[in-house]
């Protein structure tokens, strides 16, 4: 099952994948144990002439053991998950001083990307609007200001292991750092109307030099712009 996961290209994605495989192996073992027990019982204790069932009402010891065991397993899993979750989603734990800040705004049925331009402020003349195309450099911290112009959409980049709903009139911040150049899909993951199926944008991760060239092309007068 794990091999079906698309390649991970974000810095926090590895942690997600590790948890994923840990849960995969834990649940796989539990599943095999339970199914094997079930099948053995079904064969061994099938009705046979002249053999009666044994009267057993239960066992407090066993109840305590399996209650405690499952509780411990789920708590240990939870303990490992809190930091990973906070790393992805808690704004106070995001890496500071992002290299790139972009506003991504969903609308039926496109993603509007807005770059603040060299002045690093949204709503000014040097803003750049792109439809469905997001450009970022590799190995750089990117902050996304996520919002929507109509209904709820969801910003999903499978390879980044990142998903966040976009809400109208709210700005939700997410971050990522991509580790591999390439072009990746940004499908919308929340039902948003009849065009939901086809709603997708693209994340273009460039090598730093290519990205600089791209910035240079957009804002020619600023050599170091687009930060």
């Amino acid at each position: 099952m794990l091999r079906w996961l698309p390649e991970n290209i974000s810095t926090f994605g590895q942690g997600v994948d590790t948890l994923f495989s840990a849960i995969y192996y834990i649940t796989l073992i539990v599943l095999i144990l339970v199914m094997a027990t079930l099948i053995i019982f079904l064969i061994k204790y099938r009705h046979q002439e002249g053999k009666k069932a044994t009267y057993i009402e239960g066992s407090t010891t066993l109840e305590i053991i399996w209650t405690a065991a499952t509780t411990v397993i789920v708590f240990v899993l939870a303990m490992f998950s809190y930091p990973q979750w906070n790393k992805i989603k808690s704004p106070n734990q995001f890496p500071e001083n992002p290299d790139v800040v972009v506003q991504v705004s969903g609308k039926q049925f496109n993603w509007d990307m807005t770059y603040p331009g060299p002045d690093n402020e949204f709503g000014t003349d040097d803003d750049l609007d792109l439809e469905n195309e997001l450009h970022v450099p590799r190995n750089a911290v990117v902050h996304i200001r996520l919002t929507s112009q109509d209904v709820i959409h969801s910003f999903f980049v499978p390879q980044l292991r990142l998903k966040q709903d976009a809400l109208p009139n709210r700005f939700i911040n997410v971050w990522f750092e991509a580790t591999k150049a390439g072009r990746y899909e940004i499908p919308c993951a929340e039902l948003c109307g009849f065009g939901h199926s086809e709603m997708r944008g693209y994340l273009n991760v460039h090598e730093q030099t290519d990205y600089d060239a791209w910035v240079q092309e957009r804002w020619p007068q600023e050599a170091e712009g687009g930060q």
Binding site: P6, I56, E63, R161, K163, G193, F194
Partner: protein, 611 residues
């Protein structure tokens, strides 16, 4: 105790006896048939959109145009002729609007999956588990003559009929039916401009509101009956587990459904009166997340409403056919109570990615993971029940075993999604769809099938045909797994849920796109097999009603009270109300001749009853 004397002798009119019946058994059967009819509707909707998922651009068989017609305009099939007629007529025909030439539009696709889930959750599983089994079993199993409030009981059924009619009407109003998912997320559902759906969404809300009334009066009835009307000696800890489950579910329904009803009222205000409870405007107003909180505050208890009676039924089937007491009766009861309590504090696990504060996500992850504990306890207890038993592989038992094994898979997939970091990735993918179906179809529906075959002799005085039941079981079991297991893999591959064209899906996400398309075709084929296998069940059900082998009073040698009543069960159920001497699962008691000791059998008397 076995006299067939009717307790009430007066003749009832046809209407009173079969239509507006006050008898809990008749109402139970009405709910059962209602649920089965809706099951076929809901299943049919699913097969329609499964076709689209396998062949997004190909016309449907039977009602779609033929290839020749597409290529050369040559009319070859009946469908071609029909479409010619439609094209020539000036009127805007229903079919042309939603399925031009037999290819489903994206908008109609959204209506179909919305209605599939709505129908299955609100009009199939709950009516059958709670309406049918609840009504039929509660008075019989606690040893009383009827429900506490027979008229409310009748109203509960007719409210449900009214709700179903309103829901179905939604397909035929201008703008089409609700298309915002069974969860009806706002703002999508709150304003016609986002979906083009005008009255459909309002009828959806109205229908669920009426269905809520039905559940409400039903649950008041169940709670009162179980608390007040138990037979002498039937203490709470001698109640069969299925009665415990129905009792707990009644409490959940009573508390949860009004939350949905209130939310729906606000939603309808948003749509009709221009309020903005669930939409944020620049000037302020409400919050789309409020709807999600209200919906899931109802919705998570609701999913436990869908499974608890299934657990109850499995807890009847497994001891009976293992000829052993249920393992850990009390821990089974406490586990259900724990699930019912925890069920109220986990709703946020549906909203991890919604923009809810991340700190809350951590809390909801913890409570959700905790709910795996009582689920595990129950599973181990079912296994413990089979341990050193004498297992009979009857058709009901096969379903009981399937319930346990499928529930295990559904519960384990729940752990992935409960884990917030993993849920970031798999939320809103087919992994969720797989989970839902393993718990609700693999769990609840297998319990329903098992329960129907098990109690059929008491309901109709005849057995269901055993061979047909077993063919139906194996076909369903195999086709079910072929249909839903691959969905886990699709989900892990990044295949989103609620999309109408998977060919465009994940093209660059995963390089295995061809495999995904193939898998979708395989799933659709399996789904059709699964659908057609259900025809066997329905045929068997109605055929056996008239032609099945006549059943004895207690054919499976069961301890609980419903089998003390004569078959067919007369109005008033019991000649004389039985007295209860012991718990419900005294099978293979050491020193006893028979391997069963009915609850109503006085101490130190030989077992009687099964002819």
């Amino acid at each position: 105790m076995h006299d067939n004397e009717h307790t009430s002798h007066h003749e009832e009119s046809f209407l009173r006896k079969y239509v507006f019946s006050l008898d809990h058994k008749t109402i139970g059967k009405q709910f059962l048939i209602y649920g089965l009819i809706m099951f076929f509707l809901g299943g049919g909707l699913a097969l329609l959109f499964r076709w689209k998922l396998a062949y997004p651009e190909k016309p449907l068989p039977i009602i779609g145009v033929s290839q020749q017609y597409l290529d050369e305009g040559e009319v070859v099939t009946g469908a071609d002729r029909m479409w010619e007629r439609i094209y020539e007529s000036d009127e805007e025909e229903w079919l042309e609007l939603y399925m031009p030439a037999g290819v489903m539009t994206d908008a109609f696709y959204n209506m179909l999956f919305t209605m599939h889930a709505t129908v299955m959750v609100f009009f199939v599983i709950v009516p059958i588990l709670v309406g049918a089994f609840g009504n039929f079993l509660i008075p019989l199993m606690i040893g009383t003559r009827d429900m506490a409030f027979p008229i409310l009981n009748m109203l509960s059924f007719w409210f449900a009929v009214l709700a179903a009619i309103i829901m179905m009407a939604g397909f035929f109003v201008p703008g089409g039916h609700a298309a915002a998912g069974w969860t009806g997320y706002t703002p999508l559902s709150a304003d016609a401009q986002w979906t083009g759906v005008e009255w459909g969404q309002i009828l959806w809300g109205l229908s669920l509101f009426v269905q809520g009334l039905s559940s409400l009066v039903g649950s008041i009835n169940y709670i009162t009956t179980v608390i007040n009307m138990r037979a002498p000696g039937m203490t709470f800890f001698r109640l069969p587990l299925v009665i415990w489950s129905l009792f707990i579910v009644a409490v959940l329904l009573l508390l949860a459904f009004p939350v949905l009803s209130s939310a729906i009222v606000l939603l309808v205000f948003d749509r009709l009166a221009g309020t903005t409870f669930f939409t944020a405007t620049a000037e302020g107003g409400g919050d789309p997340l409020l709807w999600q909180h209200l919906f899931w505050f109802f919705g998570h208890p609701e999913v436990y409403i869908l499974i608890l009676p299934g657990m109850g039924i499995a807890s009847e089937l497994i001891p009976v056919f293992s000829r052993k007491p249920i393992f850990g009766y009390r821990s089974m009861v406490y586990a259900m109570i724990a699930i019912a309590f925890l069920g109220w504090i986990v709703w946020g696990h549906h909203m991890f990615q919604s923009g809810m504060r991340p700190g809350l996500g951590s809390i909801f992850m913890t409570t959700t993971m905790l709910i795996a504990v009582p689920s595990a306890i129950k599973t181990f207890n079912w296994l413990g029940t089979m341990f050193r038993g004498s297992i009979r592989f009857t058709a009901p038992m096969l379903h009981g075993i399937a319930f346990v094994s499928m529930f295990v898979i559904g519960g384990l997939s729940g752990i992935y999604m409960a884990n917030t970091p993993v849920d970031v990735y798999i939320h809103d993918t087919y992994f969720i769809v797989a989970h839902i179906h393993y718990v609700v179809f693999g769990g609840s529906l297998f319990a329903v099938f098992g329960g129907i075959i098990f109690w059929f002799p008491k309901m109709y005085g005849r057995y269901m045909n055993d061979v047909l039941s077993k063919i139906h079981f194996w076909l369903t079991f195999i086709a079910f797994n072929c249909t839903f297991f691959p969905m886990h893999i699709l989900g892990v591959g990044g295949h989103r849920r609620r999309i109408s064209n998977p060919l465009a899906e994940a093209v660059e996400v995963v390089t295995q796109e061809q495999t995904f398309a193939d898998m979708n075709i395989f799933i659709t084929m399996s789904a059709f097999t699964l659908g057609f296998a259900q025809l066997i069940l329905v045929f068997n059900f109605f055929w056996s009603m008239y032609k099945g082998k006549t059943a004895e009073q207690n054919p499976w040698h069961v301890n609980t009270l419903e089998w003390e009543a004569p078959t067919p069960v007369p109005h008033g159920n019991f000649g004389q109300i039985p007295t209860v001497y012991r718990g419900p699962y005294e099978y293979s008691v050491p020193g006893e001749e028979a391997d069963w000791t009915p609850q109503a059998q006085p101490e130190h008397a030989p077992a009687t009853g099964g002819d």
